[in-house]
């Protein structure tokens, strides 16, 4: 059983498991949306003193912060006990495209060439990690949700606004990948 879990999961198992998470949260009387935690964390840090948007009863969102803590634990468990020995099965076309940007495919989950403190200490590294995070935080709150809130919860409830948001996610992702990456790397 453990051996089976350790293998990379096929897309259909993964997709089904994600909608299962959405369903259990609905049965808990909550809704699946991860990025609202960022607003909650701002409120906890006292942002409500300056900006009314953060002046809300964040304690009602405690359950979602616990879910967030769980997700960190889940990552830790996976990295330490559920890792498969096989390298990531990335498509040859992507490996080739990344090579042209001087990003080497190393078989890990993320390129170790980028995800380290040395790269972060370069101006470009700081721009990517801090700037990328900024765009994630600003964009998700502006759109009122991220992949979980819009692409999963919203589309499952046939919400047109969520479809517009998902189209936006792809416009942004395509512009970054095809137009900005060649200038950055």
């Amino acid at each position: 059983m453990l051996e089976l879990i350790k293998q990379p999961w096929p897309w259909y198992t993964s997709g089904l498991a994600i909608s299962f998470i959405m369903v259990i949260l609905i049965f808990f009387g909550k809704s699946f949306g991860f990025s609202s935690n960022l607003r909650t964390m701002c409120s906890m840090l006292g942002a409500g003193k300056w900006v009314s948007f953060f002046n809300f009863d964040w304690k009602a969102q405690r359950w979602n912060l616990l879910f967030l803590i769980g997700s960190v634990i889940g990552g830790f468990i996976s990295a330490n006990w559920l890792q498969s020995d096989a390298p990531l099965n990335l498509s040859q076309a992507t490996i080739h495209d990344l090579q042209k940007l001087n990003i080497k495919f190393d078989g890990n989950i993320v390129p170790s060439q980028l995800f380290n403190w040395g790269f972060l200490a370069t101006g470009k590294g700081l721009l990517i990690f801090l700037g990328g995070g900024f765009l994630i935080g600003f964009g998700t709150r502006y759109a009122g949700g991220c992949t979980s809130g819009h692409a999963i919860s919203g589309l499952s409830n046939l919400q047109l606004p969520s479809l517009i948001a998902v189209i936006g996610f792809f416009i942004g992702g395509l512009v970054m990948t095809h137009l900005i990456f060649p200038l950055l790397f």
């Binding site: 909608s19 359950w63 769980g70 997700s71 990552g75 559920l82 076309a93 994630i136 964009g139 759109a143």
Partner: protein, 138 residues
């Protein structure tokens, strides 16, 4: 205690699913935005199709949650600007870091401590949105 524990357990399961599905992979996100594999589209597609069926069933059967309250679904605000503009800005960040908010924290748990900087950036971005909220088209 049990009340808290169930959310931590659900989150833990989510972290494992995100890891094993490879949805937290910077490489997989690049592959998706280059349309070079079905993997990520298969994951999102399966989640959405089964999610639509699940939500439809819950509405049809007038399901109740664990506390016995009727399950209700709130409709998103009927507008388009905030979804298109906000969504596009998030998409830029998603491709740039290779992670959406959930995976940022799952990767932190995996031991990629540099994600702390992405988290700081995302808190700053959320704060600045709150600051400018009334001046932005929604």
């Amino acid at each position: 205690m049990m009340k808290s524990l169930k959310y931590i357990l659900a989150g833990t399961l989510f972290g494992i699913i995100m890891s094993k599905s490879e949805a937290i992979s910077w490489y997989r996100i690049q592959e998706m935005f280059r349309f070079q594999s079905f993997h990520m589209f298969g994951i999102i597609g399966t989640a959405v199709i089964t999610g639509i069926i699940a939500v439809w069933l819950m509405k049809k059967m007038k399901s109740r949650d664990v506390e016995g309250n009727p399950i209700s679904f709130t409709d998103k605000e009927k507008t388009w600007r905030r979804y298109l503009f906000g969504g596009t800005i998030f998409g830029l960040g998603w491709a740039l870091t290779g992670a959406c908010p959930g995976p940022v924290f799952v990767l932190l748990g995996q031991g990629y401590l540099v994600m702390i900087v992405v988290i700081i950036g995302s808190l700053l971005g959320t704060f600045v949105y709150g600051l400018l909220k009334t001046r932005l088209p929604h």
